[in-house]
Symmetry: C2
Subunit: 414 residues, 2 copies
């Protein structure tokens, strides 16, 4: 609107793949579109048969008679021309707040079967018919992997397992691993090397490790001056790591480098399945664990990290979305006796179910193998081990769910 000689708006001169040249601006050249994800080709089968304005709405009919209705402001907001989306970042640059009233557009179905809207100020928006079809108001949201809850019977033949070489070297192996991790919440990567650092290299196939007060990665072995139970040799009850964080790590990887000590079998249990079991047999206990806030707290010389949340967290729709169970760092919080009565009853029963062989699996983790699990769903533990009988050395790190989901989406592009 106000050309300024100091302005040097970037224009792409890259040889990037141009899939569908938008041509919406009044005085603008077509800008190439980066070929990625939703901005990729919409080589769908459909063309528009008809388009009409109806008050605030634009009504569309495709060539197979399917119809949809879009609000005119939604169309203006989602114009994909080079004035309305940055031609390189593809981010939205149009600001509805700056358009007093775009008006009711003149709509036509053009010769390519695309929708063209001409707005009150002369701006033209053009929409690919298949892009529109994907975004019908009644279209489903982006699909998320569906959790498949499990009991020990389903894992009788072992966890879903992918070969280390396939994960590190093939997109298919990586996809199979992450898909199982998302759905089952627990997987094995097998047959890898036993050099330190491999756990981080696996994380880097996805993105990068989430750093915590235990570092960017951590070594799990019996240490002389432990600051948490994992660095001792005691039995570790099934638990979630770092429930004392507002934002605990989503996924945990534990890679075995050496395991010669007696004992130390790994334990895993699907906490969502157990929460479901508790809800079924004792709805009152379940409700208590879903609603009574519990303090978790870790302290050492450098940290004092605490958070208050129920043991079982539900989302707005009432579905179980996280478990915070960790008896070591549950704080000595003030508690009303009536709440204590309810809490300890529910907590005990939940704990009994976590240990129940119906739910819990137990297996030795072998050198060169890594278990990866959803830290907020699948609780992990280990039997006591005996450091005097041999060395036991695991390396661990954490990875954000955002990165696992993102990697799966990027793999789906290929």
């Amino acid at each position: 609107m106000n050309p300024d000689p100091r302005r040097a708006r970037p224009r792409s001169s890259l040889g990037i793949h141009c899939t569908w040249a938008p041509d919406g601006g009044v005085d603008q050249a077509s800008a190439p579109i980066v070929d990625m994800g939703e901005f990729g080709p919409y080589a769908g089968p459909h063309r528009l048969a008809d388009a009409e304005i109806d008050g605030e709405l634009v009504r569309i009919t495709w060539d197979d008679a399917v119809q949809a209705v879009y609000h005119r402001l939604w169309l203006r907001d989602n114009c994909a021309c080079a004035d309305c989306r940055h031609p390189q970042t593809r981010e939205r640059t149009v600001k509805l707040v700056d358009i007093d009233e775009p008006g009711r557009p003149e709509v036509t179905s053009d010769s390519d079967g695309a929708l063209t809207c001409t707005w009150a100020d002369g701006h033209v928006s053009r929409f690919d018919p298949n892009w529109l079809r994907q975004r019908r108001p009644e279209a489903d949201g982006p699909a998320q992997p569906t959790p498949r809850l499990w009991t020990s019977a389903r894992m009788a033949d072992g966890l879903p397992s992918v070969d280390h070489h396939a994960v590190m070297n093939t997109n298919d192996g990586l996809r199979r691993w992450l898909d199982a991790l998302s759905r089952d919440g627990a997987t094995l990567v097998t047959g890898g090397p036993t050099q330190p650092g491999e756990v981080v290299r696996l994380a880097e196939r996805i993105g990068w490790p989430r750093e915590t007060n235990f570092g960017r990665h951590f070594d799990v072995q019996s240490k002389p001056n432990p600051n948490n139970a994992a660095y001792t040799a005691i039995r570790l009850e099934p638990h979630v790591d770092l429930p004392n964080w507002q934002r605990p790590p989503d996924f945990q990887f534990l890679y075995c480098l050496e395991n010669k000590a007696d004992g130390g079998e790994s334990l895993l249990v699907d906490g969502f399945a157990v929460a479901g079991g508790l809800a079924e047999e004792d709805p009152e206990a379940f409700e208590t664990l879903c609603t009574l806030p519990v303090d978790f707290r870790f302290q050492d010389a450098e940290n004092d990290i605490r958070y208050r949340a129920p043991v079982i967290g539900r989302d707005a729709d009432g579905a179980v979305r996280e478990i915070r169970f960790n008896n070591w760092i549950r704080d000595a919080q003030p508690m009303d006796p009536a709440a204590a009565e309810r809490f300890y009853r529910g907590y005990r029963r939940f704990w009994e179910l976590l240990r129940d062989p119906k739910y819990m699996i137990r297996f030795p983790l072998k050198p060169g193998c890594m278990m990866a699990f959803d830290n907020l769903r699948v609780l992990h533990g280990r039997e006591e081990f005996f450091p005097n009988t041999g060395k036991r050395h695991l390396q661990g790190c954490y990875v954000d769910r955002d990165l696992v989901d993102s990697r799966l989406r990027v793999l789906e592009r290929t």
Copy 2:
């Protein structure tokens, strides 16, 4: 219970400060307690005057006639003897699930004014009277810094500001900075060097940076092939970074190394204050932004990170706890026309208020200065700048709220 010759339970031989020697176990030696936080000395003024059992409850009277009632299971669960807490990690090792029925304890107020409970199996728990006093059921939870919402008038003399040298070299400076950051959600650190990397050194006074798809830290300057709007020179509307993450960064630091370009003034606005303003003038619009889920999505060649959440997030108590406003990466999500009608009306008004000089402040960020702000509360932006007129170079990073809160607590110990 089953002594095993392979067991070599760690016993501290460190010269750590022993504050209160617990003596609860039947056959155990006293173990020293690490002097930290809640496990520090309880040199409070109170002793018990009386203790009695009353059904499931233990009733306590201190020497100033104050009374409190504890559930017996709470006391058993929180026994601090060396069998019930690990003597080095201080984590809870007692497992109520393994104690069939601790019974109703015999209680006495001993000669030190402490509470002694003797359980059915002979186990003895001893509780410091001042520790118990702190944990009366009616005691307040741990204090969190209270947000002080602001409009531009309150910031007329500038943001709360602390000298770089004080932050880097004194506990008092660090505490003043983090306290202001927690309460006001926006601060300046002034008078620092202009060498690259200082932003990370400041983060390391607290903990460590949160790594994202923009790296462990990032450089904000006009770049030839930008993958997001911040790397261009365009005006940046007030926004939140990374609302497309399930877990966006909590705090953001932006450190100015060089700022010779015309334009580019920094913009900040307290989104919680604006949300409050919207709730007051237009409750229906506020409710729409609190409840209508919005898709946010960032894509480049390596990432496809998306999340769905309302623009205004409330906690279980209905208090505003996060803002997700970022027009660039708001996705082209399918939207029912009736929802679109409500959404665009509320969104426009919220945006107008974000820009309103009543709320927004504007200032030039000088070299050697860093602004630090609560990314989920205080929206940031900048005016357009003109790269042809001089260089502009900021460095940024993110820090977790867990770490800021933890650092403040550790500083309070000193």
